[in-house]
Symmetry: D2
Subunit: 361 residues, 4 copies
């Protein structure tokens, strides 16, 4: 990606030399997620274009220099099926990392596919190979997890693990998820695994709502076919007149915020996780929406390596029954990435899979 | 108080008959707080005018029928100096009371001085006597706590105990309090007792800022003499460029909300507790103010009997050093209550003490 | 139950008069649980024998006096299938109930089937009718929940809801449950619903271990066929060498405590919930077992009405897939209660169902 | 320290070469703490004797190579008064560091003065200079904090910051601290700063109890002059018959554990933090001491860099009023370290200060 709004160019890079404890990944799959669309639209600040996008990827270790231990404790060797945590540097020393225990707010944080220029090397998954620098959090992908399931979950799953942690969900809580993109779908699945009673989802189009049901939603509202008051009324009718104990915002719209505070019950929790870019202001009434409701609103930014490992545990246990692999709708070769971005931006697919060695589907 | 916007009338009531386990309090002091001004301005819905205002009060037990045990475990007898929890009924059975553990959101909640009509009896402290119905949470006032300290804290102190619980303050956290009324001043005192490092306060006029310092604030900002960007810059200069770990909103203004989200550090907590009535909408940016900040916003409504007992413990231990008695600025007899409401509405005093047996000062 | 160690006698009682807001339940099922065996063995202090045992029961409202609202918000009428929370009184005023928010430690707490003498009325489920005094927490049993599922869960399910709350389980955590009685089996089911990754169970005999698997356990250890070191080794082999994130003690043995602290991983949580009676001392090493492990040990006593309502929500959502009905092994009529107690004490059945209108199976 | 039970020898080492981002500290003070006595008695396993003890130290930067930034965000230069976090390596990658968020249980953890052999370099504070390797968490010592206050707090203060975090102290809680050594005294001070109502301390001898009062204790019990039942009775008489909301074990005795579970109130928290070495088994009754009490027991191991930074914030705000400097009783030069260890082992002093450039006092 040379610059915002410019076509994706396919470039050749030299095979990198590996310093000790580094590795080279032969990419099996990467993804096109919402962040990539934002990158393409130039909506993230400080991006050192040109970049190689693709922050969550999976593949096979092609070369390993020295002894490398995975963050899961495994000894890694060439030929292993592996995945890696896309945040490759946080300082571990600043107040955000230590006193506040919010490493996703570390100012030194660097992320594959986003913060590193292509001039620095193969730091993105839209490439046949990815350079795994020393210290990257690599983990073996258990045999029971297909690449398709892992990438179908992708960054949305990692974010959803963090969201559910912030939501402090208890078995028996009702949950409503705003948004049926990759983050919302994984949030639905994790709420189901976490013992939610009834799960509601608001989204569009119909195919995503159908997938939301297969991921675990009980009731879906078509964003385009229902009004805000209708959804509130239908929700209350199913929740003792209260609203949902937990509402998760994974929609990224300013209007969703205004609707969300009304959908959560008094004393409930509202996790806001879909606003990765600025889409403008929302209007809230502090008395009605927050103070008198005794509400908790919790922003949720990024994910930590602990969420990455927990995601793998969850996939290992549950991937056979939860259709994460269905989130990745279609495969695109390197030659088709412009088409992939256009399809993602137009929401024609939930998630585009990047298949650097193939020709796509 | 016959109706909103009408002068307060002094009326005579018959001395009530006491059913078993009820008591009659000879009122030493009650208070005029912000809620009373709201009642007078007709800004609370569902109030059964005429009412006897005065929700937090203190006095001496004049008559007791049967054996009554205080919520503090004491046996109560005539002549005891006592205080009582103003919320005299919550159902203890509904989902808010039980499943959600948010009794302040119980729909059956009734509060002295607010929810009971004067036609039902002496359910308010602006009266020579208060009827304490069976089940009211009465506690002996320890000898070391003067009536002036207790009423100076008053309902603002109970609210502040709840606020600090919601704030999850840890020793060494920086705190900023928006508002230097009765709630804000008690929040400052409790943040100081809770081990805050630097405490900032925003308020006006100067006398309240001076009192804020005596309550425990380190740095005060005059709301009228500083601008929003100036306050943010000054705060950051004192907090490693971060903002405060905990911001407490006790100002009741829609603009305070918009400023508050910027004052709290990434990953911090923002407790919104000053919006007891609707003062209109606030505009927030979900990306910048909540999601990317990984912020927690916590509404805080009312207080529970546990907060009442904890407030007494705190006063018992600390009232000698914290000038709660200074919050109650001036005493008013029953004949001067209109003047008291006007003074409170005009913010000429922080809190008016009601002295039903005296002539005021 | 006339007294400890004495045969159960069947007695006739007058049909009680109902004060306003009281009701009479026609008992469909009650249960014989571990507490009943303890009562029979005289191991609980302060029990006002003679008593009518049976603390968790279900049935149909035979008579209702006045308008009664369920704790679930429903209007109750004769003919409704209902269940009720067995703790019929907590004071709601003492420090345990209010300041500490531990109502199960309220000293005024009274429980059907345990704390009320038969001379006071029909306060137990081993009876054709149960008197539901004013204020008892009654809830409609949703049509999708069979009496057999509800009583199969019974008091063990309510306890398990509280246990899982104390355990602060997060999806992806490994869980080990000590004990495969009624409490342990429900804890397994709730850990599964709560998203545990691998669930281990220690118990006996084999039929209970088989049921444990159907409730959701992945790996079971036969208490009689494995040794303590073997179980530790097998657990570690499945948990990255760490032990379980959460260990739940539902065994009631002093030796289980000593084993349990070794089974939980460093920084994990150990919930002790099986010691309803005193079975003697356990020996722990504070350095090795607690301090250096950075362990959390949490006792868990009784359950609250909120747990009762949450249990109903969970049953409503999940009873079709979780075989709670299998816990109740055999039905006993009133004439066979001595046999039921003997079978329960000898662990020949997991739980005896009491069927007051039938002859048993 | 050549080996356990051997006299301390004074050795000369070459001045180390500094790699980039390393520094050399001219030691102003180090300390002899309980851990050092354990090291001398050979009670810690895996120690690579010979070692240079002294894990918490303070001094002046003698030489700095390259640009070093402190963990407090400051730019560090030669001549700065600094302190450093003694845990110089945790891996930041293992499950303990990431998934479990318990970095003090990282198996790669290394600590100045304990885990590094003298053959590797100047990794301990009982030395004129300390080598600060790249990555060590260094912070400027604010001018308002004397070296004596910092070292008086020392490792006990860092541990106490962690303890109070585990204790989840709320303002108004009663607190009892078992042990009046360096950890216990700092725990008392932090409980006072955290708004405890009444603070009780159990310890000996009388001078330490006197210091405990100056640190913030309200009531002290002489361990040698009172019996276990007497202390329980006296505590209950002051706490509504309940016991303390929070009990902190900083005594390191097996008997303290057995007493501690009785001293904490039902539903309270018991933090066990004094068992850094194995002093043998304790006997608990799971029914009476844990399950029925609904108790929480929380082990607390080591401290994190966030606790280190929080300790500095607390000292900066409060050192003028809390006599941390009194904990360090006497100064010892390098020639007198054997005497220092003997005095510490015999409890003749609370803490020995090591003054490597002086002759002691």
């Amino acid at each position: 990606m040379e610059a915002p709004h410019r076509p994706i160019a396919v470039r050749e890079f030299a095979v990198p030399d590996l310093p000790p404890c580094a590795a080279l990944l032969r990419t099996s799959f990467s993804e096109v997620c919402g962040t990539d669309v934002h990158l393409w639209h130039g909506r993230l600040s400080g991006v050192p274009y040109p970049i190689i996008p693709g922050h969550v990827s999976a593949g096979v270790l092609d070369r390993v220099r020295g002894d490398i231990e995975g963050v899961d404790g495994s000894a890694l060797k060439e030929g292993d099926r592996v995945v890696f945590f896309d945040v490759h540097r946080t300082c571990g020393r600043c107040r955000a990392c230590t006193v506040h225990r919010t490493p996703t707010r570390c100012s030194a944080r660097r992320v594959y596919g986003i913060t590193d220029s292509a001039t620095e090397g193969l730091f993105g998954g839209w490439s046949e190979f990815v350079y795994l620098e020393p210290g990257v959090g690599i983990a073996r992908l258990p045999d029971t997890i297909s690449f398709e399931s892992y990438i179908g979950g992708g960054c949305g799953l990692l974010t959803a693990v963090h969201i559910l942690e912030r939501a402090a969900l208890r078995p028996g809580d009702t949950v409503l998820v705003q948004g049926t993109g990759a983050v919302g779908l994984s949030a639905i699945a994790l709420a189901r695994l976490g013992g939610a009673s009834t799960i509601f989802a608001i989204g569009a189009p119909q195919e995503r709502l159908d997938l939301a049901k297969r991921m675990g939603a009980d009731v879906t509202f078509d964003l385009d076919a229902t009004t805000v008051p209708e959804r509130l009324e239908l929700l209350r009718a199913r929740t003792h007149g209260e609203g949902a104990a937990v509402v998760i915002e994974a929609a990224g719209s300013a209007r969703a915020i205004e609707e969300g505070v009304a959908l959560v019950r008094d004393g409930g929790r509202y996790v806001i996780a879909g606003h990765y870019t600025d889409v403008g202001p929302s209007t809230l009434n502090a008395h009605r929406d927050i103070n008198r409701k005794h509400l908790e609103i919790r922003g949720c930014w990024g994910s930590e390596v602990g969420h990455f490992l927990r995601a793998i545990s969850l996939l290992e246990r549950h991937a056979a029954r939860v259709p994460w692999h269905e989130i990745g709708g279609r495969r695109y070769g390197l030659q088709s990435l412009n088409e992939a971005l256009e399809d993602a931006a137009a929401m024609r697919i939930t998630k585009a899979l990047v298949d650097p060695w193939g020709r796509g589907t």
